[in-house]
């Protein structure tokens, strides 16, 4: 029963959603199923929040390595949750937008979460520079082609590329670095990306059919024999 019910649900939902695309009378049903999905998706937040608390409280309780960071995580999570749930300092009261200007939630978002998130992403520039020095080597022909393409793209994404090659006559404008960078993006890159996308799409179709027909049951957990 534990295995059959989910398989039957998957079969019905999958079949209806496929039919809703090709068979107009089933369109409404497909739409309703999408709404059910959106309602279920909300519960993922409870699951995620619960999981975060469970993992970090266990780390603090057992005083595992770096448990201090878990204290900060739990405090940050709790504070942000309270500020959002009870709309603390919200000028419009409990019915107003959670992100209303002046609310504690939006203040913490603007002055803590926003700069921290941006700083984390900005660190990428430093690691990219370090990695490009250590790993980007012209060891063989393939790596050399990749290196040349990277140089053109790096230059093409800056105004210097335009200044450096603006002397090239219009009839050879493809040789101007910004145009060369665009060519790399819309020709070799595009061909590669399309091939990957078509491959993924075929994989998704075959995996979906396996799920709908009950051949693939790993999503039911390890005890699925």
């Amino acid at each position: 029963m534990k295995k059959q019910v989910p398989v039957v649900i998957t079969f019905i939902v999958g079949t209806v959603l496929i039919l809703s695309v090709f068979f107009p009378p089933a369109e409404r049903l497909g739409e309703d199923f999408s709404i059910f999905f959106d309602i279920i998706a909300v519960f993922a937040f409870f699951l995620g929040g619960g999981n975060l608390i469970r993992i970090h409280t266990s780390k603090i309780y057992n005083k595992r390595q770096d448990w201090g960071f878990s204290v900060v995580t739990i405090c940050g999570f709790g504070l942000m949750l309270m500020a959002g749930l009870f709309k603390l300092w919200n000028p419009g009261g409990i019915a107003a937008d959670v992100a209303a200007t002046g609310s504690l939630f939006q203040l913490m978002y603007d002055w803590i979460f926003n700069p921290l998130g941006a700083s984390m992403y900005a660190l990428l520039a430093f690691y990219v520079a370090s990695a490009s020095y250590r790993a980007f080597r012209a060891k063989n022909i393939d790596a050399t082609i990749l290196l040349i393409a990277a140089f053109v793209i790096l230059l093409g994404r800056t105004p210097l590329g335009m200044y450096a090659t603006s002397w090239i006559p219009e009839s050879f404008s493809i040789m101007q670095i910004p145009n060369l960078a665009i060519w790399i993006m819309v020709s070799p890159n595009l061909a590669g990306q399309r091939a990957i996308m078509i491959g993924i799409a075929l994989g998704v179709v075959s995996m979906s059919l396996r799920l709908i027909l009950g051949v693939e049951r790993t999503y039911l957990g390890v005890d699925n024999d």
Binding site: A138, T158, L190
Partner: protein, 303 residues
């Protein structure tokens, strides 16, 4: 004084890189901390000395600009904030530019988000751009923020046929049926243009697959530079244009400044950030060259 500072800084960077090249050729590895220092200087110098470059819009950016510009006044443009704070410095200049351009053309703007973090960023855009720069525009008449709903592409699957099944109210709890901007709007199919700003999941790709393509609705994208190559296959058939990274933002801003005298003094973070990006790219390229030189010299020494 500024010029002297700038020349000294660039001379220090070039001198430092030459010194590192000589060290590398003699077989000594460049420490990670030194690379970090160079990138730090390369990013800070253009900001300190206010170095900017002129930009020219490429066809892929011009496609979005022309679409917004050529729509008749009163057209409805939906801007989806599909990003979080980590991506904001790179894509926020684009969403702000779209809002400015749309409102200057008297279009109606609907703000929403497929990312939970997008709702607060949308609220910030309303507060910092619309309320400050367009004080005569009225919430619910000229623009509206309907916020975030959970469900990723599932949300699009529903609002492509009926907005109200997913969004009963805007972020302030005002019934959508009672706001003027939503009169005559039933679904995404009533949009004259949709713009997804982001670069992750759910994002531009989901907008193409679940809204633009099935509904035959014009869609434009604005994404972080790292995700832009993945979106090129959708241009120009499914995407009318695409702004990639800070360069895309800078091109759009320069086009706005060129064509609208009222935007001569507008904030242009995209154009301003092209200085640090240019110098940082130069330093990265220099390190690639140094790394390869030391690699070949080491190989030759072994032989």
């Amino acid at each position: 004084m500024t010029n002297i500072g700038l020349i000294l800084s660039i001379a220090a960077i070039i001198g430092g890189l030459l010194w590192l090249t000589i060290r590398s050729l003699s077989g000594r590895e460049v420490e990670r901390r030194i690379i970090f220092l160079f990138i730090g200087i390369a990013v800070s110098v253009p900001l300190l000395f206010d170095i900017t470059f002129s930009e020219k819009a490429t066809p892929i950016v011009k496609g979005v600009y022309d679409k917004v510009d050529n729509l008749p006044s009163g057209s409805v443009i939906l801007i989806s904030f599909d990003y979080g704070p980590s991506m904001a410095p790179e894509v926020e200049p684009m969403s702000n530019a779209f809002i400015r351009h749309s409102l200057a053309k008297d279009h109606k703007v609907i703000i929403m988000g497929l990312w939970a973090t997008g709702q607060s960023l949308g609220a910030s855009a309303v507060e910092n751009v619309i309320k400050k720069e367009f004080p005569n525009k009225i919430d619910g008449v000229d623009y509206i923020n309907i916020g975030y709903k959970a469900g990723n592409q599932g949300v699009l699957n529903v609002i492509i046929t009926d907005f109200r099944k997913m969004y009963a109210t805007d972020v302030n709890g005002v019934d959508l049926d009672s706001v003027q901007i939503f009169q005559g709007i039933r679904s995404l199919k009533d949009m004259d243009l949709m713009i997804s700003v982001g670069g992750g999941f759910p994002g531009i790709k989901e907008w193409v697959l679940f809204a633009a393509d099935p509904g035959n609705i014009p869609l434009a994208g604005a994404s972080a530079a790292v995700s832009t190559p993945l979106l090129y296959p959708y241009y120009p058939m499914q995407l009318i244009g695409l702004l990639g990274g800070i360069k895309g933002a800078a091109e759009y801003e320069s086009e706005m400044k060129k064509n609208y005298p009222q935007f001569a003094d507008m904030p242009t973070p995209g154009i301003e950030m092209m200085g640090p990006q240019t110098l940082a790219h130069m330093v990265v390229m220099a390190f690639i060259v140094i790394g390869n030189l030391s690699f070949f010299f080491a190989k030759r020494r072994k032989e």
